[in-house]
Symmetry: C2
Subunit: 917 residues, 2 copies
């Protein structure tokens, strides 16, 4: 079967009516067509899909076949989806918001909008764990870090955090850890501590450090120098939430002694998106930090210098659960800085500040009074606010007598007049026109003492620079990225297009709900669908990532226990094989982690589980488990938390509720097709059983969640709301049947791949029928024994074949976890298998001594293009003629992707994790 | 100076007011900044820009410095432009049109919209004359040809023509030529022949052939088999205008004996765009035809098998002036066919036909009568049409008593109900709802005898396929494309974004003018600006390409002569150095070409001109001249046609009116920044002096032009109207000052490049001050003499350095014409010069015998990636170690672009042209 034999979108099934849409999405989302699926089944020895699925998914956890179907979720075609999106967009009112509170009207340079935000070669990349295939993004993230370091005047900055709220929490934890208050972390983080809101609002003095904001929520810029000295004298840290644009004019935190500076980078050209996604910045750690290192040939190469995956190493001792960050948005902010350059940023900052001063001057003439005299872009005014709504603009409603007005780069003369005249109308003052506006520059409302005097940042060309960086990075536009546990599937363009329409992108998260009916429908639908899919009762779309979902779910369980007077329950059982974020999230939620062992074959040790559950029964709070691992039969006296990060291949066949869970989190950036963005954004909603629903998280500005909610877990009420559209569209377009078909084909593709590779590699974790689920785990331990070849060597060699390596060294250090997903065509799956098999032959040459153990195509991998430029002399040092390492299979002449650096000489964090272990 | 030293967008000039926009476009459009320009001037020995410009542009053709300024054209920033575009878009009403007449509501698959139409790597490419750098597009264009061949059942098809009207004209000419009526071509094409409208409407029996349409304008499908036999018996040809979607159900022209089939491919996923751009198809010739050939290593490679540049060879004997085609739109249509596959296309065709039958059935129940019984997608109904307008839909208003309704793929149940109920409302019939609509399939309204029975077309994966083809092609996202006479400059994203908004893309060209006020403003502004820039009185935006503009301009001159009783004037003087389309266009316009010689130094032979002008004075109709060539001093007793295809570096310094012209055409896809689209679309408006204004072309449906207009020269009233937005935005964003600055920097960059290359290569055409204009011409004749190296060898070698070669062998066969434009940065210009100089060193090695004459890095160029995969044995055949041909300069390790095939073994059309000559 070849591509040319395949027949486009149309399936065998003829259209159901004259009006039926013909661009059926499941035909495009699901790689193999009916004929190919039949062929794959026959290779596995089945003559029906049902017979196959029955042997893969145990009957005791199966759900009824009509649980998920087109009757439950009716499908939309790609064109219908876009039409629906237009209608929903029209239900989001296009009021302009000057609400501030961390969200602005960003002006996205068109070249960045189209060539990064709307470009699959930027948004479909995986996290840059494989540095050799990710030099473009890494360079751009270094630009981000440099920009943050330069604007904050701090020595080090990370490459982004989820949002400002998470960054605040991280700052708090860091202050605690640094000041040796480690022991006090747990009580401090208890949900009971209501005065400490897990939100963007941090003006709280705590014993470990001082949290300051400048400019603050009400717009005031403050001088913290005196206070900082006192705090330092008390050996505590000073953390400051601040604003990047203001820092072009304000004395930077690094210059007045702050230890930590953090905030949201979104106003650097990232749309508000009804709350996100946005990249928080954090100077200094934690999070991912990109560093410049050297590759195997001693040439400069960027790589992750620090991953937040310290969870892999320290597990229950980890102090942060952060995993996914916001690479795509950090890259946009970095490119925005490159586009404008330092002088441009300063001019924008001056303009925003100047307009704010002018506004103050004008409205004071009308008789209003500004509460604060020192400000950057925000005025707090004593005023009534009915006029604003009439003018089609949103101001911040502080209380009955006060409004906040926050200006930004987008404010043109017409916008400005509209604001001015709304204030004028309110008091019957005369209307201004463009002609009678004063425009001269006023003296700054920033006191001399805290004005910025230092310089920052360089710049460059745009479109080609963007393309040049893009060309260094492998993404889904090139080939499959078969990452076990991460589920990289088709990220359809149709689900992405509406995101950048202003109806979705230019919406402030705190506008009145009647202005966002389109968004509300999407949110409502998605909650319903996720409940259907999980079998649960209620859903929170607030958590901004899988780890945030874990934290939220466990916090909900804690709140439940407390509500029943069982607040002492603080033990969380977690299998040793669990994802590293699990124990870290449990720690963050104030739980004590008790690990549960694995058996030799990798499955959960049920005896150990029983033992520990009994031992801790009085204090047991929760048990975190991966859905695939076990069908829980224990009576649910404690909360069972399903780590359903990856629900792929389960939808319509089984669900977490049926498996006995109480809570489950889902990474929408996996099963539900939000693209990985080169390392974020993600979304990690949770679904819960009925008894937990009252405790779902709320939000201080826009109430969400249950009747006895836990505090907010994200800065915005529905997290990174704009990308919820993607998962909504994914479900809508597939419909019930398409979702179930996707599950089945995902199982089939994994088993077909297992079948093709099984003669060549050792597979682990097969079930009694010899079948795997939607992932396969290959163990490379034997090659280390026989030839000194490690799993990493195979992974790096795959890069030379144009594939992103699957997940390595997880969940077992000598293994590779492979997940083809339902979206890959049979042709692509075969191409990947061919590469794996060819590498097996290459390994054979090392095993038989044809290539030396320390100089062979696996150890030398990847081979970047610079190999070609080596001298004849240097070429002689290769074990075989250079053409073979570079172009090992004929199709690579046409489809070669070149890693741009050779292997980095420092071990990866995963590797050191296992070396430590 | 390096990129990192440059400082982003901001210029030295501080913002003029608090409200001034800070994303000034000219800072981004113009590559070198002030400091770099000063450096370049100093290298040339000037200390002011004015002193330099004075030595380049002769004072006698200069215009006043305030002729073009910010007072004349005020600048908009990028963000302001987008805001303005939104307002203009809102002025185009979003009525849905079922007018038909060749334009439909296309449904663009989102993956194609985003990844081709909105992707600079597809829309900024140059025409694929350099096959080695264009294999992706060539493959896609072969898909287009295959699709056309397959749907029409013709043996050969070209890779697109400008529009259906042009295709009709080509069919006519082909019929005439084929049937030996050559001599009659001229009178036949006279503008006087009013019965032959140069439009999409061709149902005219002519002596050389029979022009048929099926389905015809009124929707009727006809059986032409009998008639075709009679026409063939009379040794004439049958040409048919037809519809690709209908051909999925209709017996294809190739099966019933048509000799030529043509039409518009736009309904295959290309938006209406208020008239275009769209790709016409034409099976068989003329136009560009892509063929599969073999490269120097015998591997398969696509290339232009036939270019329409027969004008280069046959010049005044050429029978077609077509040059630019519609590659981008042809690629979209081809991808649409791949996306849907043959079964998908058949289903769409069936659906459209089925809905049309259903509509007929329903409205007949209301008492309407369909005029034709055999139809595909169009009903002609006896009806009044006021109800339609009320319902917000446009039908075709045929006359007081008849409407046409044309359905298409976009029609969903709601659309359908809206149409049905408009008819119902008109006669007071009951309103239908989704529930009471009959949906069963009816018997076909296509007679059995002309139904299609044969099969067509294969299919494939989408995003990766698109990306894979894209990755083979060099475009402006990689590096500069310094094509002399073609002016490849920055195609800013901001000018491209609004094009794909439905407010601009989903507009039928024949809607009432009150529905398109946004478009009308853009058209009005652009006409005004182009008149300002040229110094002329009136403008026609109708011609779809440069060649069409030439034809239009000369036709206007002829009409003028006729109006004065001088219809006998039919001689057109054209310099031998003119672009090949000039004589061909003159021929098409019914003029006799008399060539004017060039002098040794390449300039026009004024003595010869005078002689010929005097000799033909009684019959002289026009003199076609390139603006740069000469300042015309002859009294304008005849029309002087300025071939201003390329106005770059002239705006604000001189203009065609000042130079003595009467008409001038402009290729908007050059000076005015419409991207080249990989070989189209283009636009070629004309501006004329006051006495010619009455003759500007009109249009049969939407009147345009002067009071005594010539016939339409394009299918749509304003040609490819949607892309006029790009040039409008270009002018709007630069403003007067930015336009003038662009001219000056274009001159400076060319002279700086000339300065850098002058020690290494021989430059031709310098002025008395040793300066070139905005292009430089290098002569390679000396290398042929000394080492057998031809200009092509240098061009092909440039590919190995990642540059698209400049224009080769034109206007002089041994030369290369280089145009850096104002958009390239100093760094990029230097990089290009470095490559040229390094190639000069490589040539030296051949001259001195270090590399053999028949086996050297120039003759072997380009070196595709497959070279790496050659065996050690084969590598030994290279003249030097392989790393040098592949990576000749260090920066190529990072920025290498790989040609995907080696040199094609057949000579190019240009080469054979000069061999013939
Ligand atoms: C099983 C599992 N749980 C949790 C996570 C953490 O998700 P996130 O990166 O969105 O925080 C992941 C993601 O890598 C995962 O694979
Ligand atoms: C000088 C000149 N005239 C005319 C043309 C023809 O323009 P078009 O290809 O748009 O028909 C060109 C384009 O190559 C040109 O360079
Ligand atoms: O630079 C661009 O606007 O594409």
């Amino acid at each position: 079967l070849t591509a040319t034999q395949r027949k486009g979108l149309a399936t065998a099934k003829p259209p159901s009516s004259l009006f039926a849409a013909l661009d059926t999405f499941s035909d495009r989302h699901i790689g193999p067509d009916n004929a190919e699926a039949a062929y794959m089944l026959s290779k596995l020895g089945y003559n029906s899909m049902d017979a196959f699925v029955d042997e893969v998914v145990p009957s005791k956890i199966r759900i009824p076949t009509d649980a998920i179907s087109d009757n439950v979720i009716g499908p939309l075609s790609e064109a219908e989806l876009l039409r629906r999106a237009r209608l929903l967009g029209a239900e989001n009112k296009q009021y302009k918001s000057y609400i501030g509170m961390g969200y602005h009207n960003a002006v996205v340079p068109p070249v960045i909008l189209r060539n990064i935000m709307e470009n699959p070669a930027w948004y479909t990349q995986y996290t840059p764990y494989q540095a050799e295939l990710a030099q473009g993004r890494l360079e751009s993230l270094v630009n981000f870090q440099t920009m943050i370091m330069s604007l904050t005047s701090m020595d080090i900055a990370n490459s982004s955090l989820l949002d400002e709220a998470t960054a605040a929490a991280e700052a708090m934890v860091m202050a605690l850890v640094a000041s040796n208050y480690k022991k006090t972390l747990l009580p401090f983080l208890e949900p009971g501590q209501k005065d400490l809101e897990f939100s963007w609002l941090w003006v709280t003095l705590i014993f470990a450090g001082f949290f300051s904001i400048t400019p603050d929520l009400d717009g005031q810029v403050k001088d913290f120098r005196g206070l900082t000295e006192s705090v330092h004298a008390a050996k505590a840290l000073v953390a400051v939430a601040t604003d990047l644009l203001a820092l072009a004019l304000l004395k930077p935190p690094g210059e007045w002694g702050a230890d930590i500076a953090f905030g949201n980078s979104a106003r650097f050209g990232v749309p508000a998106g009804y709350g996100g996604p946005h990249a928080a910045f954090f100077a200094k750690m934690p999070g991912r930090i990109i560093g410049r290192s050297r590759d195997a040939h001693g040439l400069p190469a960027y790589r992750l210098a620090l991953q937040t995956r310290e969870q892999h190493i320290r597990r229950e001792k980890a102090t942060s659960n952060i995993c996914t960050s916001q690479a795509l948005l950090a890259n946009m902010a970095a490119m925005y800085a490159v586009y404008h350059g330092p002088e441009g940023l300063r001019r924008i900052s001056n303009k925003v500040h100047g307009l704010t001063q002018l506004l103050k001057e004008i409205v004071e003439r009308f008789g209003y009074r500004a509460i604060h005299q020192h400000f950057f872009d925000t005025l707090m005014l004593d005023s009534l606010h009915s006029a604003a709504a009439k003018a089609g603009i949103n101001l911040r409603i502080v209380d009955d007598k006060h409004v906040g007005v926050t200006l930004d780069e987008s404010v043109g003369p017409i916008d400005f007049l509209r604001i001015v005249n709304a204030f004028a109308a309110s008091v019957g003052a005369p209307i201004s026109t463009a002609e009678n506006l004063p425009t001269s520059n006023r003296s700054s409302a920033i006191p001399e003492s805290i004005r910025r005097t230092s310089d920052y940042l360089p710049s460059s060309e745009m479109l080609r620079y963007i393309h040049h960086l893009q060309s260094k990075d492998l993404s889904l536009v090139h080939s499959m990225t078969p990452l076990g546990s991460c589920t990289m599937k088709l990220n359809s363009t149709s689900s992405m297009i509406p995101l950048t329409w202003p109806e979705f992108s230019a919406v402030h998260p705190f506008v009145p709900l009647e202005q966002v009916k389109g968004y509300s429908k999407i949110i409502g639908d998605l909650e319903t669908y996720l409940c259907k899919v999980t079998g649960f009762h209620a859903c929170s779309l607030q958590p901004n990532s899988g780890a945030a979902g874990e934290y939220a779910g466990l916090s909900v369980i804690r709140a439940y226990h407390e509500s029943r007077g069982e607040g002492h329950r603080d033990i969380c059982l977690i299998p040793v094989s669990a994802h590293g974020t699990n124990p870290a999230s449990a720690m963050m939620a104030g739980l004590k982690v008790v690990p549960v062992k694995s058996l030799q074959d990798g499955s959960l040790d049920l005896v150990d589980l029983k033992e520990k559950a009994e031992k801790h029964s009085d204090n047991l709070a929760a048990f975190m488990v991966r859905l695939a691992e076990v069908h829980i039969t224990y009576p649910s006296t404690f909360g069972v938390f399903e780590d359903g990060a990856n629900l792929n291949a389960k939808i319509g066949l089984t669900n977490p509720a049926t498996c006995g869970g109480d809570v489950c989190h889902m990474n929408l950036h996996k099963t539900f097709a939000i693209p990985h963005g080169g390392g974020g954004p993600g979304m990690g909603p949770i679904c819960v059983a009925e008894h937990l629903a009252p405790f779902l998280p709320s939000h201080p500005i826009v109430p969400t969640g249950g009747e006895r909610p836990i505090d907010a877990v994200s800065a915005a009420p529905w997290g990174s709301a704009s990308i919820l559209f993607i998962s909504w569209a994914y479900i809508k377009m597939l419909g019930g049947q398409g979702l179930v078909d996707s599950s089945k084909i995902a199982l089939l593709s994994a088993n077909y791949m297992a079948h093709r590779l099984s003669g060549h590699y050792s597979l682990r974790y097969k079930n009694a029928n010899g079948r795997v689920a939607h992932e396969l785990l290959i163990d490379f331990a034997e090659f280390d024994k026989s030839a000194g070849l490690k799993v990493t060597d195979f992974a790096k060699r795959l890069q030379d074949y144009g594939f992103h390596p699957p997940t390595v060294s997880w969940p077992i250090s000598t293994c590779m976890l492979i997940e083809p997903t339902e979206s890959e065509s049979l042709e692509e799956i075969d191409r990947f298998c061919d590469a794996m098999i060819n590498i097996r032959h290459e390994a054979e040459e090392v095993m038989t001594g044809k290539q030396p153990r320390d100089n062979n195509v696996l150890k030398n991998a990847p081979h970047p293009m610079s190999v070609i430029a080596l001298s004849e002399e240097e070429w002689k040092r290769f074990p075989i003629h250079v053409s073979r390492p570079l172009i090992p299979l004929p199709w690579l002449r046409e489809r070669k992707f070149w890693p741009t650096v050779s292997r980095c000489d420092c071990p990866s964090v995963e590797e050191s994790a296992h070396e430590d272990a």
